[in-house]
């Protein structure tokens, strides 16, 4: 039997992700100050704080309503570019969860792919633009590959996590095509993209959490 996550389980993941983001504040802010205006961490952190406040409501919801709620909170609380992108991602993912009571392996892959597509469409962006997509895209490709190869879920979560982290690290070498870093003379080359790093924190945490459910 593989993992089966309920809306209550997803809330447990949100708590862990919030903690992971919270504890890396200084690091992410320093990354952002190098190429942006230094507010990415404080915005995304407030977003997760608001999600935590909404947990009593969310854990009683269907997965579909829970994901829509997360999307709305992230969109309005985080604001700026990250807010609308995470909002679009969760609303895109909600569609995958219509009429579902639990998230299983294939569903999780579909959720991440729906998030990726929503972010690429809303941001009019592709892999290689030095954004959060450069973390999410390789993670989704890896996940699909694992399913095609029928790898065990234990192996899958390790590989997907690795793909996300390596993807985020790969942004250091990239030239920025979107966002404030693209106005820098060197297009931010040599600096990690803070949005890709915070995306990696979330995927890492999610994969580690799933591993505890196997």
């Amino acid at each position: 039997m593989g993992f089966r996550l309920s809306s209550k389980d997803y809330v447990e993941y949100i708590k862990l992700a919030a903690a992971k983001i919270h504890e890396n504040g200084d690091y992410v802010t320093a990354l952002d100050a190098a190429t942006g205006d230094g507010d990415h961490w404080s915005n995304i952190n407030i977003g997760f704080e608001k999600l935590i406040e909404a947990i009593p409501v969310m854990e009683t919801m269907s997965l579909f309503d829970e994901f829509k709620k997360i999307g709305m909170i992230m969109m309005s609380v985080i604001g700026g570019s990250s807010g609308v992108l995470y909002g679009s991602a969760y609303m895109g993912a909600a569609k995958v969860l219509k009429d579902k009571d639990v998230i299983e392996n294939q569903d999780m892959c579909n959720i991440m792919e729906a998030m990726l597509n929503a972010i690429m469409q809303r941001g009019n962006a592709k892999p290689g633009f030095k954004t959060m997509i450069d973390c999410l895209y390789p993670a989704v490709e890896c996940y699909k590959d694992c399913i095609t190869k029928a790898l065990s879920e234990n192996e899958t979560v390790v590989l997907v996590k690795k793909a996300a982290v390596e993807g985020a690290q790969s942004t250091a070498a990239m030239e920025a095509i979107r966002g404030r870093a693209c106005y820098q003379a060197n297009k931010g080359v040599g600096h990690l993209d803070p949005g890709a790093i915070t995306m990696a924190y979330q995927i890492e945490t999610l994969m580690d959490y799933i591993a505890t459910k196997l």
């Binding site: 205006d37 507010d39 604001g79 700026g80 807010g83 909002g87 809303r122 941001g123 009019n124 979107r178």
Partner: protein, 328 residues
């Protein structure tokens, strides 16, 4: 940090409440940070907005002959779609709504998402994107040129067209004509301090200036030593004139202060700008000098030209009555 504030987290709310108190024709919508006209009329609605910190933009341009609603984000950060939808609702009288967006990744995404959501509620929404800053190369691949002070001209033109009773397509066409004819170039002498950050984003040396800096402190094209007003006018106008052909035409001029530059210096700059334009056989039809699109407490300026035809002249001259721009 020395600022007249209560708390960094409440600056946007408190500035908008203060503005509504000073200008009784304006309505403030709590939480969603929208300033709109108290009295609605049956016409195409014009909505703009963006990060705060650029006051009087955008709420200062709400009023007869310009915007119907302005939506404020946090300092230098785009407003979220739920706020923008509220702005669209306030501006909509059934004739459709035009969004005037400055060209930044965050603004584009949030306004487009709001547009999609408003259309689900059967409100017809169109949008135009202002990209007047010639310091950045134009590009269809990357985000490309930023929208800066020239946006105020777009508010004036679109607002006048809508007030004259034109339909949504006609208002959009007028706004696009204005955008096609507008170019701006700026320079900064000092960076600005975000209330939540508490210290300047970067520091320029005592005798250093930066040509082409963005209105959020984005890097410019060149750091150089302090220049005279005549040299500054020459540097900024050369970039503008090299980018678009203004020769032999009539133009509107906007000499904009970034927040901490005295009007004295802006008028001195205007004198030099006008000299160069006259020399180049470009006729100044109308001039605006003041703090129209600021960047908190940044010191510096931008120069904007809009090439005029008969329609644009008429729309520029049409009356408007807003807190930050009045044409009588």
């Amino acid at each position: 940090m020395k600022k007249i504030i209560n708390h960094p987290n409440s600056v946007v709310t408190e500035l908008l409440i203060g503005m509504a108190k000073a200008h009784p024709d304006l309505k403030y919508t709590d939480e969603l940070e929208v300033i709109s006209r108290k009295v609605k009329s049956k016409k195409v609605g014009i909505v703009s907005g963006g990060g705060s910190g650029h006051e009087p933009a955008h709420a200062g341009y709400v009023g007869k002959g310009m915007l119907d609603a302005a939506v404020a984000g946090n300092v230098f950060s785009s407003p979220s779609p739920d706020r923008i939808i509220k702005g669209i609702e306030e501006a909509n009288s059934g004739e459709g709504v035009l969004l005037v967006i400055k060209n930044y990744s965050g603004d584009i995404m949030n306004f487009e998402m709001a547009k999609d959501m408003a259309e689900m509620d059967d409100i017809r929404v169109e949008s135009v994107v202002v990209k007047d800053d010639v310091a950045v190369p134009d590009s269809t691949y990357s985000t490309g040129r930023r929208g800066i002070a020239g946006t105020v001209f777009v508010h004036k033109i679109a607002g006048a067209k809508a007030e004259a009773g034109a339909n949504l397509d006609q208002v959009k066409a007028a706004a696009e004509k204005a955008i096609a004819n507008i170019r701006s170039m700026g320079m900064a002498m000092n960076s600005c301090t975000l209330p939540a950050v508490g210290k300047p984003g970067f520091v320029l040396g005592e005798n250093e200036i930066e040509i082409g800096m963005g209105i959020h402190g984005e890097p410019g094209v060149e750091r150089t030593s302090v220049k005279t007003a005549a040299e500054t006018a020459d540097i900024l106008l050369s970039k503008v004139l090299a980018d678009y052909d203004y020769s032999g035409s009539e133009v509107a001029v906007l000499i904009n202060g970034l927040g901490a530059t005295p009007l004295m210096e802006l008028y001195i700059l205007n004198n030099e700008v006008e000299k160069i334009l006259t020399e180049k056989n470009i006729k100044v039809y109308k001039t605006f000098v003041g703090n129209y699109m600021t960047s908190l407490d940044m010191s510096g300026c931008s120069v904007t030209l809009m090439k005029l035809d008969e329609e644009l002249k008429e729309l520029l001259d049409a009356p408007c009555d807003t807190p930050a721009l009045k044409v009588l």
